[in-house]
């Protein structure tokens, strides 16, 4: 659960779960940290609703797909969910993700498993990107199920807000308005009906 990131035994490998999050919330994340001193310790983005995420699972419509770079080609794309846009990228060091990006078409609904990261542009503005692990086309039903899934898990986080270590940290760092995120959830659910 929310405390999953704490005190795991040394040397053991536990795959990090893929947190469900709407674009509007991810876009407002600003705190990235490492859990442990090790070079291989996982890196987490703390979500404003109070959960650390090393990996996320998101769905949406693919837009503005672009192939970039000359020698080190990489792909960027946007993924539109009911709350806004995710910024995706896949570089040549992830062959599989690149190939899947090459195959995906703009306008497709896609499911993406990826790692969130907070980047700063040279002009000093901050934005959150998602490094794609896998991107696959999915049907509209899967997209709608994802919206419900993400709504439910975000509401669960809001209900736990203030009672977990991560949410206390988030409250301190973001001064989170739970009402703001409840409204995002509500509007996303309603938008899915149209």
């Amino acid at each position: 659960m929310a405390n999953g990131g704490f005190s795991r035994p040394a040397g053991s490998f536990i795959r990090e779960p893929a947190v469900r999050v709407f674009s509007a919330e991810l876009r407002e994340s600003r705190l990235q940290f490492r859990d442990g001193e090790d070079e291989k310790s996982p890196s987490f983005v703390l979500l404003p609703t109070g959960e650390r995420s090393n990996r996320i699972f998101i769905c949406g419509e693919v837009t503005q797909k672009e192939k970039r770079g000359d020698q080190n080609t990489f792909y960027t794309a946007r993924l539109r969910d009911p709350a806004g846009l995710f910024f995706l990228n896949a570089g040549s060091y992830q062959q599989e993700a690149m190939q899947q990006m090459a195959k995906i078409n703009q306008g497709d609904f896609a499911a993406v498993v990826g790692k969130p990261g907070i980047r700063e542009t040279p002009d000093g503005s901050i934005f959150v990107t998602v490094r794609v692990e896998t991107i696959t086309p999915v049907d509209r039903d899967t997209y709608l199920t994802w919206i419900d899934d993400t709504a439910e898990q975000t509401l669960d986080r809001l209900e736990r807000f203030g009672s977990t270590d991560d949410s206390k940290k988030a409250s301190e760092f973001y001064n989170t308005s739970t009402e703001h995120y409840r409204r995002i959830v509500y509007e996303s659910l309603v938008a899915a009906d149209i």
């Binding site: 896609a110 898990q153 509401l155």
Partner: protein, 418 residues
């Protein structure tokens, strides 16, 4: 680490009584060296520094007395990594040492529990005998694969003790196993062929509470256990490796509970979530046809045990990860369910593979497209952290759930912020 000024004061006091005045700085720096640089426990460092200063000033006496004053033995279950301990216990098993640096290795037990120990060859310790009681003074405890392990070094005093206590170790339910040494009563659920030449036997044990894998390494005294039978297993090592527990039966006492049976927890588990990752073993595979083997062959038809097997049989399987947002669970989907989920039959897959040089990759790719990013519901048995899937289906969109969520999201929680 900071030195407790009281420690320095105590040492200084001992010498003052003997008419020797010492500088506190000197005592402190010696203590610091031992505790900080060598990681020795403060109490032990205090003793060592006192003895050393005694020798330096040609004194003897209290140090001799204090070291011969019997130290209170602690229960074995209380020994944790990082401690210097004095324990009394019975050597319940000895196994052949894995390295020349080790004179003996085995398990020591008292009423409270058991611990693995190692006697370093350099310690010049007397040879320990099984079933005898000993007192170990100043042994160290460290951690090996997550379990405490006691080390007998040259500074450890070993005394054979005559008094004999009898105690029976109590079996622990498998679901409650922790790294260390444990006694269990379990049924052999599966007997796997060893994957390594030093391995004597491996498989899966189960009781009413769960299952755990076991391994027995080749040793003079290795006992083979049979699938379907129930055994009392005394003093087996519990190792932790990559987050999973494994029981090491090498050197453990294994007694068959004849005629007994245990209803092994089927671990029937339901799981619902997104299929987020597909593993390397997914797709059309070839299996070794040697009786009882059934291992997956490499693309070049190589079986890890039976070498090149050009006469193989095809199979279809999916390995992957289902993730509910809180936990990622490994799943293994066998042919029948894999066919249903991906709508690729074994026959169709074989045809693709035999008529197209890239057929194997195509099949895997088609399976990825069919499953990754989809919501699935699986049920099956939990084998040591992996769900062996017996039934699996794609989740359909549920409009009732959607309506419920809109209701839930439309209400501001009582006392919520505005």
């Amino acid at each position: 680490m900071d030195i407790d000024p009281q420690t320095t004061e105590r040492i200084s006091q001992i010498f003052k009584e003997k008419g020797v005045l010492l500088e506190n700085d000197k005592i402190e720096s010696k203590l610091k060296l031992l505790t900080t640089d060598f990681g020795i426990a403060p109490e032990e460092a205090e003793k060592m520094v006192t003895n050393e200063l005694m020798r330096e000033h040609g004194l003897s006496g209290p140090s001799q007395q204090s070291s011969s004053a019997p130290q209170q033995a602690i229960p074995i279950s209380g020994a944790s990594p990082g401690d210097w301990v004095t324990v009394e216990g019975k050597v319940v098993s000895l196994s052949s040492p894995p390295s020349e640096a080790i004179a003996q290795s085995g398990i020591l037990s008292d009423e409270s529990g058991a611990i693995r120990f190692i006697v370093w060859a350099k310690s010049n310790a007397p040879a320990l005998e099984e079933r005898k009681w000993y007192r170990f003074e100043s042994a160290t405890v460290d951690e090996y694969r997550g379990a405490p392990s006691m080390k007998i070094h040259s500074g450890t005093t070993i005394t054979h003790i005559e008094e004999e206590k009898t105690f029976m170790p109590t079996p622990v339910p498998i679901s409650e196993l922790k790294p260390g040494v444990s006694t269990i009563r379990a049924k052999v659920v599966q007997d796997w062929e060893p994957r390594h030449e030093r391995m004597f036997q491996s498989g899966l044990l189960g009781d009413e509470s769960g299952t755990v894998r076991f391994v027995t390494w080749k040793d003079d005294a290795s006992v083979r256990i049979e699938a379907g039978k129930v055994y009392n297993i005394y003093y087996a090592g519990v190792d932790e490796f990559q987050g999973r527990l494994s029981l090491n039966l090498t050197g453990a006492m294994v007694l068959e509970d004849e005629g007994a049976d245990i209803q092994v927890a089927s671990g029937n588990m339901k799981l619902s979530g997104a299929f987020v990752h597909m593993g390397g073993g997914t797709g059309l595979i070839k299996r070794c046809k040697v009786e009882g083997c059934n291992r997956a062959l490499s693309r070049q038809n190589y079986c890890p045990v039976h070498e090149i097997q050009n006469d193989f049989r095809y199979d279809l399987r999916i390995t992957g990860v289902v993730d509910d947002g809180h936990k990622a669970t490994n799943v293994l989907i066998q042919r029948e369910e894999a066919e249903k989920l991906t709508e690729i039959t074994l026959d169709a897959a074989i045809e693709m593979a035999e008529n197209n040089p890239l057929g194997f990759d195509d099949i895997t790719m088609k399976m990825q497209e069919a499953l990754i990013g989809r919501y699935v519901e699986c049920q099956g048995s939990d084998i040591d952290g992996t769900l062996l899937v017996k039934g699996c289906s794609l989740v359909n969109y549920d409009s009732t759930r959607h309506a419920d969520l809109i209701n839930r999201a439309s209400v501001s929680p009582a006392g919520g912020e505005q």
